[in-house]
């Protein structure tokens, strides 16, 4: 008996407390969700490929779409391959930084017609072999691939079995490095670091401790702002010199990075598609935002906002 009475008393007390509190302000019904002016945007599914430079692009475009166009932006963290798969099913509307990928282009744009090219991002992608800056300074002629054999001994590691080590990295990128080493007659062995973090960490320590390292890398990349790696020149790229992957003996081509959108999204009349299409900026812009994220530890949203606030004219041009 006693217990039930206590329960009731407690309940009553709690209820009074609730009623008392309701009288105060700050409840949720008065804080309405952010409402955009252009309500016709709807949802915008933006793929986020897992590298920081891409995040910079995606969150700048996404933030503008959300705040200026009133879109509901869904960021979807996906590898390139999976992101392209999502065009057909409507799960992905846009990929905002695409590095070539002729096989995916062929399959999804030409054959399935589920995706369209949405123009260039303005960024130029450079792929190639790089050495840490201290090496370029100490051995100035190392940046010519003809001299690499002279330095092969420097690059020996526990993994390279007596030859020089050429550190390949991110499994997402197509490399011809095994063929290149063979066809250029280099006394090197390709060793797979296995992931971008592994590659960056290796270069970071090579510069810090002044240990020799040569490896596959690319720009734009936030790490370039921290350690400006120096490119090693392979025989210059000419059209078609990489046509036969087994015989390739020339440098990688420059990539003009572009944007890909799903066909459905392109035809939907969404203002977000116009934004994606018009979006274009420089390598330096991207590295700035990527640096905010990777070096300064800002959230991608905050980094994007900071850049947009500092560059209102560029942003305005994409929204026209």
């Amino acid at each position: 008996m006693n217990r039930t009475a206590k329960t009731k008393a407690l309940g009553a007390l709690a209820l009074t407390a609730v009623l008392g509190l309701t009288a105060c302000g700050g409840d949720i019904s008065s804080a309405s969700p952010a409402s955009g002016s252009a309500a016709n945007c709807g949802t915008f599914n933006l793929a986020v490929n897992p590298w920081v430079g891409y995040e910079a692009d995606a969150y700048v475009v996404g933030t503008l779409a959300k705040e200026k166009l009133g879109c509901t932006v869904n960021y979807k963290t996906l590898k390139e391959e999976v992101a392209w798969q999502g065009f057909g099913s409507g799960e992905v509307d846009a990929v905002i930084e695409n590095w070539g990928h002729p096989d995916l282009t062929e399959k999804y744009i030409t054959q399935q017609k589920t995706a369209v090219d949405a123009g260039l991002t303005g960024n130029t992608g450079v792929i190639g072999w790089f050495v840490p800056p201290w090496m370029a300074k100490q051995y100035p002629d190392i940046t010519d691939s003809k001299n690499l054999n002279k330095y092969a001994d420097l690059f020996k590691t526990s993994e390279s079995g007596g030859q020089g080590q050429l550190l390949d990295g991110d499994p997402s990128f197509v490399t011809n490095d095994e063929a290149l080493v063979k066809n250029l007659g280099l006394n090197f062995k390709v060793v797979y670091a296995g992931s971008e973090p592994a590659l960056i960490q290796a270069f970071r320590q090579a510069e810090q401790n002044h240990t020799p390292l040569i490896g596959y890398f690319y720009d734009p990349q936030w790490f370039m702002a921290e350690v400006p790696l120096v490119k090693v020149n392979l025989p210059a790229y000419t059209d078609g010199c990489d046509a036969d992957a087994a015989k390739v003996a020339c440098d990688y081509p420059k990539y003009d990075l572009n944007k890909i959108a799903s066909t459905k999204f392109a035809n939907s009349g969404s203002p977000a598609y116009q934004l994606v299409k018009k979006f274009s900026w420089t390598n330096q812009d991207q590295n700035t935002v990527a640096g905010y994220i990777a070096r300064d530890g800002m959230t991608p949203e905050a980094a994007a906002k900071k850049w947009i606030d500092a560059n209102p004219d560029k942003a305005a041009a994409w929204l026209k």
């Binding site: 206590k6 329960t7 407690l10 309940g11 709690a14 209820l15 407390a17 609730v18 509190l21 309701t22 700050g26 409840d27 949720i28 804080a31 309405s32 969700p33 897992p50 995040e55 979807k76 963290t77 996906l78 590898k79 390139e80 391959e81 999976v82 798969q85 999502g86 099913s89 799960e91 990928h101 096989d103 995916l104 399959k107 590691t157 526990s158 993994e159 550190l167 990295g169 499994p171 997402s172 490399t175 490095d177 095994e178 063929a179 060793v191 797979y192 670091a193 296995g194 992931s195 973090p197 592994a198 590659l199 960056i200 960490q201 290796a202 320590q205 401790n209 936030w222 990777a294 530890g297």
Partner: protein, 692 residues
Amino acid sequence: MSTMATDCDRVDTAAIPPGGARERASEPATRPPTGGPRAFTRRHWRSLVGAAVVAAWLVLWALLRGTQTLELGGAEKTDVHVWFNGLRDGFDAARANSAFFEYVVQPITNGLNGTVAFLQHLASQPSVGRPVPEVGWLGVVVLLAWLTFTFAGVRLMLLVAACVLLFGFFGYWQQSIDTLIVTFVAVLVCVLLGLPLGILTARNARVAAVVTPVLDLMQTLPSFAYLAPLALVFGIGPAAAIVTTVIYSLPPLVRITEHGIRNVSPVTLEAVASMGGTAWQTLAKVELPMARRTIVVGVNQCTMAALSMATIATLINGPGLGGPVLQALQSLDVGSAFVSGLAIVLMAIMLDRTTTAASERSGIEARVQRGTGPAGLRGARGRRAAVVIGAVLTAVAVYLSRTYLALAKFPPSPDLGTPLAKAVSAATAWAVGTLSGFTGWLKDAVTAVLVNPLESLLAQSPWWVMALVLLGVALALGRWRTALVTLACEAVILGTGLWNESMKTLATTLVATLLVVVAAVAVGVLMGRSRLVDSIVRPVLDAFQTIPPFVYLVPALALFGPTRFTAIAAALAYGVPIATKLVADGIRGVSPVAVEASESMGTTTWQMVSKVQLPMARAAVVLAANQGLLYVLAMVVVGGLVGGGGLGYLVVSGFSQGQLFGKGLAAGIAITALGIMLDRIAQHAAARFGSA
């Protein structure tokens, strides 16, 4: 083995001194009493086969090194790989207009996505027309605390409340609740599928024969290998993430349920049958209640496995804590990766303790209801009142958190995450700076002494030599059936076209397993002999078993660079805990009589460990080696991310590059074949040498 056998004999003589000693004295060193070379051969044919195999292998390796190794270049593909690619493309093309997709896959996908979205709007993400979820953080915390109190008691309620609040203070409130939701739905699906399947396999040998190898495959095929096609089938998002999780976490539940049902006493079953119970009655009234404790253990293991998939599922946009882990990895932010990984560890501890306690309590309650329990009626009534009060409080908290923004959105301060992340980053930087000289030396030494020679021996031998050697090992350690399994697995590996890469992976796996056993014995003996050491080390081991490996990849890279040794180090971090625990339990299980007896004879600590405790705990050490091996193998793919090369790298690149999908899948299959082969050989070896 021969030294071990004599050690064992010595223990026996120590335990029973007079008779044994006399027997041994009268029967000197040459043990086989009925001498002669033929008897020797019969007795030791296994060792002879082993020695002959090794000798022939070394000779052939020296002669034929580097020929017929079946090496395949990085971008080269075989017909099988191309065929897998075609299969995937066919899948992709069929999905738009296939009845199967429309009427089977689509409803499953929508159902899973709908359930997750419903729960998310309820508790973690802004609901329609609201800037916040239907129930805010206060409501969620109180609700979870109340549920824990009801099912598991006061102490765990405090644990759960503390953990859930920490998720918020770390700055990962929404991601943590998302992970909780995904894990909950995945475990629910597992229970719905796994319980009936477990019961069926326990009762029907034919079903068991089909199901068991499928479970093997589900547990050993790396999820990286089928992640992309799963996203193709179930779409990008929660549904595919849940299916991935279910594939990995269903097997333990089915296996443990099967085990539980099988172990219901046959006497009881006979009694029920004699009383005329129907099959259904037997199941519902006898078998399931009697196996309940075991089944809850199965659910517990299933939950842990589901949680370990949290990071992987993020790669196909599964919601949850994996997101911040991977995000931090991209910018090499060790601190943030650690904090989000710590949230996963806390969640594992919380769920583990709660499910365990709930199972124990439900046992007590069943006894209380029958009136045989110690607590009596007063305790039960008091608890019921507390539960009711809790329900009212929960309702109030839910209402409040629906109404006030401050109680709905987790407050940004106190922020424990940022300072913790900074501290961890600083500590890591310091440790790397201090240790990197030593670790570099260690890496070079182990690589030169163990990894390189073994890899050369395994991967540079012609393929047919290696195939015969493995068969010979299987015969020497196991039975003819082990050899048959080995043969089948070899055929599969050859079929994948990745023989050379498989042998490289085998080499690093064997080195890692060796190091796991050495470390496990060293630490396990200390833990087994001292309660204090045990209580200090065990939580560390627990943490390493549950923290996502992605968290410690960056420090490992900083210490060892992208090398095969880094892959081995990552495998050690994952494999040592389980093996150490097994060794510690084995040492503790050594009969105290034997220990006292040898103590009374004045043995030193070293003699005690090496001559008494370790030999007597031999079964545990062998089991630890077997489990260590499997855990090491589970890390092959993660090893591929940090320079391990071999099959692991191929699986990763297959996930990352469309053209290499088939090759990656083939590499996954090769890992599975390697795993099954090693497991069977180790199991039979364990059965033979562990029980001696």
